[in-house]
């Protein structure tokens, strides 16, 4: 058993926001009692719709946001407070990339300058060695010397995301948090970046926290996945198990909603209602207003996790009811 590089223990994060100009302030639970672990060299996918808290969870994992409750362990020790020297040292071990590479890059600096910048900041090696390192990193992500001297707007979307990757990886981090890294890319380019990410992971023994709404990409890159709904995890386990045989009714709906090229016979589960508002969280199980298999207890009692024989955790009363027979299906 490999050691966990990242562990989240009962993380919660709430904000107090005003709904509209005249309303009273109310707490919004963006993330609620989330526990996750990521093994060294593996990929954990965080999946959910808007308002599920998946991006906030990613930011908490990096220490970019402080949880109100729970704690984050990186390589077994707690994250130091933000902006201390210890935190900055640890931060070089943990990097993040986002959906929009153009927003993440400085428009006025060449790609080479930006990839080299972390080395400059931490004063690593001599100036010429830094250039060589940066060029080697760019080469590793498939960008050549002419790309290196370009400005961000001179590159295509896929090339920009490669540049962002090079910059994130130049300090040789152990953990990379990717927030929708390929969602903005065209299909043909998306495949290039997905392959690159997986190659780099293998070569550098990177651990990935992969935040995405695209279950096809998640299936491709991750070993484990957690499905989030309204700030809580509803199902958590091995990716291939969750996708081939989803247990939680929300996971089932998500999986059935994946549009697959080439017609399929499987009937799609159409959920009623809207993705819920975190500020107006339903009682009991947050999913109950949209759940096709809702039971009376779902409206008042929040389900706890139960572990199924195949190792996954599910928080659902309907699944619990089916448990004694060890049948997974509902």
């Amino acid at each position: 058993m490999t050691a966990n590089i990242l562990e989240l223990h009962g993380i919660s994060r709430s904000y107090s926001t005003r709904q509209g100009l005249f309303a009273r302030k109310m707490p919004v639970h963006a993330v609620d009692e989330v526990s996750l672990s990521l093994q060294q060299g593996q990929t954990l996918a965080l999946v959910g719709e808007s308002g599920s808290g998946k991006s906030t969870t990613g930011r908490i994992a990096l220490g970019l946001e402080r949880p109100n409750g729970g704690h984050v362990l990186f390589r077994g020790s707690e994250l130091p407070p933000v902006d201390t020297p210890a935190w900055r040292r640890m931060r070089t071990q943990m990097q993040m990339i986002y959906q929009d590479p153009l927003a993440a890059l400085d428009r006025r600096l060449s790609i080479l300058d930006q990839v080299r910048e972390p080395l400059d900041v931490h004063d690593i090696a001599s100036a010429s060695e830094r250039n060589i390192k940066a060029l080697a990193m760019l080469d590793a992500v498939g960008l050549n010397a002419s790309h290196a001297s370009s400005l961000p707007h001179q590159l295509s979307g896929g090339q920009r995301q490669r540049a962002v990757l090079a910059r994130a990886l130049i300090m040789q981090p152990a953990l990379l948090v990717c927030d929708e890294p390929v969602s903005a890319l065209d299909v043909s380019i998306q495949a290039q970046v997905v392959n690159l990410l997986m190659d780099l992971q293998k070569d550098l023994r990177l651990s990935l926290l992969f935040i995405s709404h695209d279950l096809k990409v998640v299936r491709q890159v991750s070993q484990r996945m957690a499905v989030m709904y309204l700030g809580r995890i509803v199902e958590y386990g091995e990716t291939n198990l969750l996708l081939s045989n989803p247990t939680h009714p929300y996971t089932r709906a998500l999986v059935s909603a994946v549009p697959v090229a080439g017609r399929r016979t499987r009937e799609r589960i159409i959920l009623k209602g809207e993705p819920p508002n975190p500020a107006d969280r339903p009682t009991g199980c947050a999913f109950h207003p949209r759940c096709p298999v809702v039971r009376p207890e779902c409206m008042s009692v929040s389900p706890t996790f139960s572990t199924l024989p195949d190792g996954r955790s599910v928080a659902c009363h309907a699944v619990d009811a089916a448990q004694p027979t060890k049948e997974v299906g509902i």
Binding site: E49, S188, Q220, A253, G262, R263, E274
Partner: protein
């Protein structure tokens, strides 16, 4: 300019799709200050049909339809022909176009929350269409709008009339857009990436709604999307665009089972599968070409694994590969019996 195989798809459609196509585009080109972004599009939409248009960014899939409806800025030069029931729309008088847009041909857009006017109540935005195209007035506007909101599944329809777009979620706003499109009782609904900005479960709702409405109303649906899965599940016929051209068009079930054009093949191979064994993705190498920098021959030639010398100089015409299927490739279907169709013999009056 017209592609010799141009109108062939119409004539090769199954007989049930009626003889006269509802909407027919021939030799459409669009230039933005000298740069050609649409380079000769031919297509037909039959009454009640569903056509899915797929392509990556810059393929021209949206521009084609904005051009067809005269919605491009004045800096765009449009040539070719767009005919609705035989009536030419290109260069038509503004008053004529205004009767067709929103009336016979409706269009909905990607981000519903910004496609609705933020300072006008949604009921009024729908009512505007009823008043202009259906001659509805007074209190019946409210009643009919409510009926449309019910039809598209907008919850609490009666109260929503006076709501503003920011008070609704993205999915609800897209339902309002669809209600607005249906208000004119259109023959064709053009949906430009209608679910791209929406969450997965909401995307499923909206696609389901579009399909139901099309079936119930006998309305033709043109669904523009970058997502092969989305068009595959919603449309009977698929058109793949690349570099401002149509590269392949075929019935939905056969194109995904057996793609002809190397670009379509490449797209499908690049897509992560959702079933079966995991394997390394096969990306299409290189980049999507810039409109200002289009290769002289086949636009896909520089990235094509099957490219031949001729591909770099000659632009392959869209040619029939088998009944109902067309591909614009010299190399790909060469092994099959290829028979380019003559425009002159096939154009329906």
């Amino acid at each position: 300019m017209a592609n010799p195989a141009g109108t062939a798809p119409a004539s090769a459609l199954p007989a049930a799709w009626s003889s006269q196509p509802l909407l027919m585009i021939e030799g459409l080109t669009v230039d933005f200050s000298g740069v050609q972004v649409i380079r000769g599009i031919d297509l037909t939409v039959a009454r009640g049909a569903s056509l899915g248009i797929v392509g990556e960014s810059g393929s021209g899939k949206s521009v084609t339809w904005l051009a067809a409806l005269g919605l491009l800025p004045r800096t765009a030069t449009v040539s070719g022909s767009i005919r609705l029931d035989g009536e030419e729309l290109r260069g038509a008088a503004a008053t004529r176009l205004d009767r067709i847009r929103g009336g016979r041909v409706a269009m909905i857009f990607q981000d519903p929350s910004s496609a609705l006017n933020p300072v006008i109540r949604i009921g009024r935005q729908v009512g505007e269409v009823l008043a202009r195209h259906q001659g509805v007035s007074g209190s019946s506007i409210r009643a009919q709008t409510k009926r449309l909101f019910d039809l598209v599944g907008l919850p609490d329809a009666a109260r929503r009339f006076d709501a503003y777009p920011h008070e609704l979620s993205g999915g609800q706003n897209q339902r309002v857009m669809i209600a607005m499109a249906l208000a004119g009782k259109p023959d064709v609904l053009v949906a430009d990436e209608p679910t791209t900005a929406l969450d997965a479960t909401i995307q499923a709702q909206i696609l389901d709604l579009l399909t139901t409405i099309r079936r119930e109303r006998g309305m033709a649906l043109v669904l523009i999307s970058h997502d092969l899965g989305v068009v595959s599940e919603t449309c009977e016929r698929i058109m793949v665009m690349y570099g401002g051209r149509v590269v392949e068009t075929a019935p939905s079930d056969s194109i995904f089972a057996n793609p002809r054009h190397p670009y379509t093949q490449g797209l499908l191979a690049a897509l992560p599968p959702f079933e079966g064994a995991l394997q390394r993705l096969i990306p299409i190498e290189g980049q999507v070409p810039e409109p200002a920098n289009m290769p002289p021959g086949c636009p896909f030639a520089p990235r094509c694994p099957q490219r031949m010398a001729v591909c770099e100089v000659a632009i392959p015409p869209l040619a029939q590969t088998e009944a109902g299927r067309f591909s614009a490739c010299i190399a790909g279907p060469a092994k099959e019996a290829q028979q380019p169709l003559k425009l002159s013999t096939k154009v329906p009056a």
